[in-house]
Symmetry: C2
Subunit: 274 residues, 2 copies
Amino acid sequence: MNVADLLRVRPGSPVDLRSIDASGTPGLEGPREQEKAAAATLHQQNCDAMQSLQYLLWAERRQALLVVLQGMDTAGKDGTIRNVYGVLNPQGVRVTAFTQPTERELAHDFLWRVHRATPAHGQIVIFNRSHYEDVTVVRVQNLAPKEVWSKRYEHINAFERLLVDSGTSIIKIFLHIDRDEQKQRIESRLSDPTKSWKFAASDISERKHWDDYTDAYNDAISKCSTAHAPWFVVPANRKWYRNWAISTITRHTLEKMNPRTPAAKFEAGSIKVD
Amino acid sequence: MNVADLLRVRPGSPVDLRSIDASGTPGLEGPREQEKAAAATLHQQNCDAMQSLQYLLWAERRQALLVVLQGMDTAGKDGTIRNVYGVLNPQGVRVTAFTQPTERELAHDFLWRVHRATPAHGQIVIFNRSHYEDVTVVRVQNLAPKEVWSKRYEHINAFERLLVDSGTSIIKIFLHIDRDEQKQRIESRLSDPTKSWKFAASDISERKHWDDYTDAYNDAISKCSTAHAPWFVVPANRKWYRNWAISTITRHTLEKMNPRTPAAKFEAGSIKVD
């Protein structure tokens, strides 16, 4: 079974993050060092394939790919972008990081700023955080009443359906780390001077709401993993596993999209260059 | 002498593209195969250095880099982006391609759409074509009267001064190919089915204006190569030379910017992670 199938959350089957081992390596269950070496090789092959497929996607200019990255603080969103999507040609890729909405953005519905950032045909767009913040942090921090955020799951599913119907494939990836792993990662930001710029006071304050975030993600992933826009829960304590799993999922999605070089718009031999 | 110094157009010294050999390899004048191998190795080192410097630029979040790419059709703008800037982390880089302005853009001054696309602190932005189209194609195609476009050189210099004064370094690169090389490249788009999607009828019609474009670029580069935002004329018939020269220029610019990890905003040992 392909790792994409192993990690995909089936529509209608509720997910419970508490029951999923964040240090697990589904699909690579052999001796650790052996699997780690295999994953590195396969990851490199995935990256090469992604480059070729991106070129065809760009040439074809009829489809697009949207990758949504979510996870607790320090889950590895930035590292995933660097290690997986860093191989892509920047001309066809865009990363949009969604931070606290501005006043202007808050004066619109929650999908307004998100819609503006969706990919055009030929493009790959990575969301570093996304509209899923509007049913997780907004819920946990009580930034909107329940009657507001509870309606959003349906809005999200309809919005994603619109994108898919217009030629955009969607992959949604939850980087699953556990509380112990987060502790270690925050501590390394605190002790390593080259990482201290990444530390934010919110790393500590948000951590206190770990359980509430887990509940919010359980609901978001369960309600919004659809056939057209699936969620993947990727165990992410081990970075080598995370990179391999995500490059595999991305490669398989691009292969299914099957982009092709368009036919020439001129007749062979009909044009002379002076 | 560093290749950046060799290729930089000195402020106030008029450039004449007709006198510059597009097949030349300034700075790499030894036996061809030997220089080619050396360039490949040095280019790889430049790319590694650019990755590290980009990381620091992003962490520091106080400066930005803007790279302007111009050149005749088929000069290699896309290939430069893929081969030089493709190594950067997409989270900190953005490519903006300026095509024909929309009606909305035309209802503003010519720098309006350009200004919106400039990099924020920490970012690297690549312009695939730029505001220099407004003093080249606009002039050659008579899209605006001379009294309009002739004032633009000063507007451009003032605009670029504004960016530099706000922490953005600017590199402007003219990819210099000759008419024979363009002929070969267009012919290969016509004969190779995997490249035919790149062919546009304008490749043929614009080529008829080669001399006018050369005049327009001579003026634009001569009038707008300033100490704060220099032009580099890069001989680009040979792709291996072009890639090496541009990665060298970019690396040296980033080194001069000297980005640094910011100091920690907390006292060491003062924060506990529960």
